[in-house]
Subunit: 262 residues, 2 copies
C-alpha cells in the first residue's frame, strides 16, 4: 500500500512571482490542487479514474495560512494527506516547505465533495469503492495541521466594489470559472500599496456555486481590523455592467472569501 | 562545453487547459520563456547572473506556430537554441513535441535584446563576455525551425474594441505588465464560439513598450481572411475608461499581435 502522504515538488518560476518577488497566491493554490490531484490519482481516486464511473471531485473550501511566501527561484515541497472523511465531505491538508533547508512556509486545509456528474447529486464517500478512502486517513493526532479550520464569511454590504466580465481564460475544462481564477480576481481587488506594506497571512475561500463564461462577477467587500471579507455574486450572461448601473444586489453567491493581512 | 540545445520538460496540468481540454497558449508561452531561462542560465547568460552586471534580457518578439496544441495530462518536451546573434538582437527558436511518442506539436521563434538596467540602453551582444554567446549558435542549416519569421502588424482602426484595467496579478517582478499576461488578454478578446470551431495555428506578438500597474490597456482589432490583428495601446494610470469615452486613439503602442486561425 502507498504511503498516506504524497510529496509534490515545484520550482518558483520567474513569471509566477509578483512585483515583490514572492509567489502569487493563486499559483500556490494551483500547485496545492495539483498535489491533491497526484495524491488521489496515485491511490485510485483521481478525477480521470472517477470520470469513468461518472463521479468527480468538487472543491468546496480552501484555506492557506503562511508565515512566509516562497520567493523566486526557490524549490518548494508540498505534503498532502487526508485528515477526515465524512459521508459527504473529506478534509485534505497540506504542508508547504522549502525543499533545500526544510523551513516551513505554512499549511493549508481543503474540503472536497464528490458528485455524480449525471445527476449532480453528492455521492456517499464512505460507500464508494467499499470505503477504500478510509485506508488513507491520517488523523490530526497522527499528522497535525496547526492552522484553524475555515471560518464564516458574512458580507452585508449592498454596494458593489467591482464588476468584471468573464472571458475565455477564466474557464476550465468543465466550462466553469476555475477555482484559481477566483483567487486571482480577489487578489486583484487590492491596490499596489497594500502589497507593498502588508503580506497575506491567511486566505480563505468557499466555493458556493458555479459561474460560466459570459457571466458578470460582482464583488462585495467589507473590512474589519485588517481582515477583508469578499463575496462574489454573479449575473448570468451579462457583460459590461457598470457599478452605478446595478440596481440591486444580484441573488446568487458564487464565492465567499476572507483575506487576513499581517 | 554544454550542448547548444536545452531540453525542458513539462506536464499539461488540469488547471492549465481551456474548455476544449487543450493547453492555454499563454501557459505554453510561459513554458517557452522558462525553457529560454534555463538555457541561458545554464550557459552563464541567465537574468539572475546578468543582473549583477546590471544587464537584463528583454523579449522583443514571440511567434508560435502549431499543428496541434498539447492536451490535458500530456507530457511535453521543449528544445530551445540560439539561431543567430546580431549586435542588438538575438534569435532563439523552440521545438515543441510530445515526450512519449515524439510527435511534433510545432515550433516557436523569439527575438531578444539585452539592455543596461541603469541606462535603459541596449547592449552590444557581440561584445558582452567577449562574444561568448557565439559559442552556442546553431544556424538554420544546422537546426532548422520550419516556420516563418515574424511578420508585420498594422491596425489602422480608430475604434477601440475593449478597454481593461491592469491589476496586481498582471505585474511581474520588474513592475511591468508581464509578457504572458498580454497574450492572455488578447486571447480573451475572442468569444467562446471562436474556440469551439477554430484552432489557433499561428500567434505572433511584438512587445513595443512597457505598461505598468494602473495603466488602462486599450485594444484595437482588425480582421482579414480569418487573420486577426491586435494592437494594444495604453493610457497611463487611468482606470474604468469606457469605450465610448475614448475621445481619441491613445498615443503609445504597447503590443502588436496577430492571431491566425485554422
Amino acid at each position: 500500500m502507498l504511503s498516506k502522504v504524497e510529496l509534490y515538488k515545484f520550482f518558483v518560476e520567474p513569471f509566477h512571482v509578483d512585483f515583490t518577488g514572492h509567489l502569487f497566491l493563486g499559483v500556490l493554490g494551483n500547485h496545492l490542487l495539483n498535489a491533491a490531484g497526484h495524491h488521489s490519482h496515485n491511490r485510485g481516486w483521481g478525477i480521470d479514474q472517477l470520470n469513468e464511473a461518472h463521479f468527480t471531485w468538487v472543491l468546496s473550501r480552501l484555506c492557506i495560512e503562511l508565515t512566509e511566501m516562497p520567493s523566486q527561484y526557490e524549490h518548494v515541497e508540498v505534503e498532502t494527506w487526508v485528515e477526515s472523511v465524512m459521508k459527504l465531505f473529506t478534509e485534505r491538508n497540506f504542508l508547504i516547505r522549502n525543499a533545500d533547508d526544510g523551513r516551513i512556509y505554512g499549511y493549508a486545509r481543503s474540503v472536497w465533495a464528490m458528485i455524480d456528474t449525471e445527476t449532480r447529486h453528492p455521492a456517499d464517500l464512505l460507500k464508494l469503492k467499499d470505503g477504500d478512502i478510509l485506508r488513507y486517513l491520517l488523523t490530526a493526532d497522527e499528522k497535525p495541521c496547526p492552522i484553524e479550520k475555515h471560518g464564516r464569511v458574512r458580507v452585508s454590504s449592498d454596494s458593489p466594489y467591482r464588476c468584471i466580465d468573464t472571458y475565455y481564460g477564466d474557464i476550465d475544462i468543465n466550462g466553469h470559472v476555475n477555482s484559481v481564477k477566483y483567487i486571482e480576481h480577489i487578489l486583484d481587488l487590492f491596490p499596489r500599496e497594500q502589497y507593498e506594506h502588508h503580506r497575506i497571512r491567511r486566505f480563505e475561500i468557499a466555493y458556493k456555486a458555479e459561474s460560466h463564461l459570459g457571466d458578470a462577477l460582482i464583488f462585495f467587500c467589507e473590512e474589519n481590523n485588517g481582515e477583508h471579507q469578499v463575496e462574489i455574486r454573479k449575473r448570468k450572461g451579462e457583460s459590461e455592467i457598470r457599478l452605478g448601473e446595478l440596481e440591486k444586489r444580484p441573488a446568487e453567491t458564487v464565492v465567499q472569501a476572507k483575506v487576513i493581512w499581517e
